[in-house]
Each structure stands twice: as C-alpha cells, then as structure tokens.
C-alpha cells in the first residue's frame, strides 16, 4: 500500500508540521516515508504545501505529480490541488476556510471538518492541523493515533510538550468527527 498525500494551506496553518508528523509516525510504524516541503518566498504571507509519501515499499520519487489525498486547509489550496487528486482519491478540507459551494462543484470525493473554527474555539488557530490529521486517520486508518502521539513527543521541542494533551484531544475530536 502506498499513500501519496499533499497537504496545503496558509503559511501559519501548520501544513508542513502536519506532514512531518505523518511521516514521523509512519516511520515509527516501520513504513517507508518521504516528505518534501514547498519552500521559499511563498512562505511570506503566501501558501505552503508539502508532499508526503507513506508506503510499504521503497519510495521512488518524493515529488508528487498526483496524489491519493489532498488536504486543503484554505481556498487557494483547494483551487490549486483539486485536480491533483487521482480519480479514486479524495480531498480533505477545512470547511471553515473552503465554502460548501466550492466543495459541491468538484467531481472529487470530499471530506470536510471545520478545523480552524474548532481550533479557535480550542484557543489557538494553530491546532487546526491536528484536527485535520484526526479526520484523516478516521477516514483512512493509515496510521494509529498512538503513533501520532509518540511522534508529537519526538518532533516537538521539550518546552512545547505541555501542549500535547490538548493536541491529542483535538486529534480525537477529529477522529470522531
């Protein structure tokens, strides 16, 4: 099995760390993984995205031209990556940022979660990415929540570990949404 995922959104929405979390957890589960961020001046007030591969076999090119899953955290990403998804793939989007009108227009299968709104409710819009990951895990079972938790401990600097319980709560909310 090989999952090719693109995660895209605004600079501040944590799309790169969402990707990092996924590949880290994937590695913990013994899978072959690669992660490739978009980089550069887009970072300044623009959009960011990363290509993630989680696979049972060795990874060929880390660069995706198509994806099984596109996680779109905002409207421009939705517009840009909608056609990036294979016919049998799906889009997962933050419905706080992408209107249902838009969603209804695409031919692709779309899952949604109002991640940013929920995150703001939880006190920080930066939690949006973890909601999305929860939702992803719910849909695909690609990784175990425990792996994500372990990955969080490994990836986050010590001084941010206190946030992990809240993040896991968000994850679970995503998982059960």
């Amino acid at each position: 099995m090989q999952y090719e995922i693109i995660i895209a959104g605004f600079g501040g929405q944590g799309v790169l760390s969402a990707g990092r979390l996924l590949v880290y957890a994937g590695m913990l589960e013994g899978k072959h993984v690669s992660w490739l961020p978009s980089y550069g001046p887009e970072m300044r007030g623009g959009t960011a995205n990363c290509h993630v591969i989680i696979s049972d076999e060795e990874v060929g090119s880390p660069i995706l031209n198509f994806a099984d899953i596109a996680i779109c955290m905002n409207l421009p990403s939705f517009d840009k990556f909608e056609t990036f998804v294979r016919d049998d793939g799906f889009i997962l989007c933050d419905t706080s940022m992408v209107s249902s009108e838009k969603i209804s227009e695409t031919k692709r299968k779309v899952y949604g979660i109002d991640a940013t709104t929920k995150a703001i409710e939880l006190g920080n819009k930066a939690f949006a990415n973890i909601f999305i990951i929860g939702k992803l895990l719910q849909i695909t079972k690609i990784l175990r929540p425990e792996s994500i938790e372990k990955a969080l401990y490994d990836v986050l600097p010590e001084k941010k570990h206190y946030l992990i319980p809240i993040e896991m709560e968000a994850l679970k909310m995503g998982l059960s949404n």
């Binding site: 501040g12 929405q13 409207l75 940022m97 940013t116």
Partner: protein, 70 residues
Amino acid sequence: MLRAVFREERCKGCGLCVVACPVHIIENNQSKLNEKGYFASGIVEPEKCIACGMCVEACPDLVIEIKEVK
C-alpha cells in the same frame, strides 16, 4: 467627511494601526479571517475618526486611505 477607510482584503492583522490611533477606535477582529487568512482590523466607531492619518503612517500594508466618505 474625511475618514479612514480600511481595505480589509489587504490587511494582515499586525495591529500596528490599533496602537497608532490616538482616539482608540481601531480594533483587530480575532474571530474572522479575511481571504488571505488573516484577522483583519477595522474601525469600530467610524464617526469618531478625526482623519489624522496616524494609522496610514503606521500600516505596513497600505490598507488605509483617508478619504471623503458620504
């Protein structure tokens, strides 16, 4: 009447106008993102605006104009 007019779509929510305003009528709305993904600022009590242009000076994103509004 001359008044500060915010072009919300340009705003990045930095909040510099908020502190620059001598009559404290600018607020940064932390609940709604504009299309760029920022919480935009705006004038909450437009009629109090003295059109001093302080916010124009402070804003790094040319969000604000002082102009005649009917």
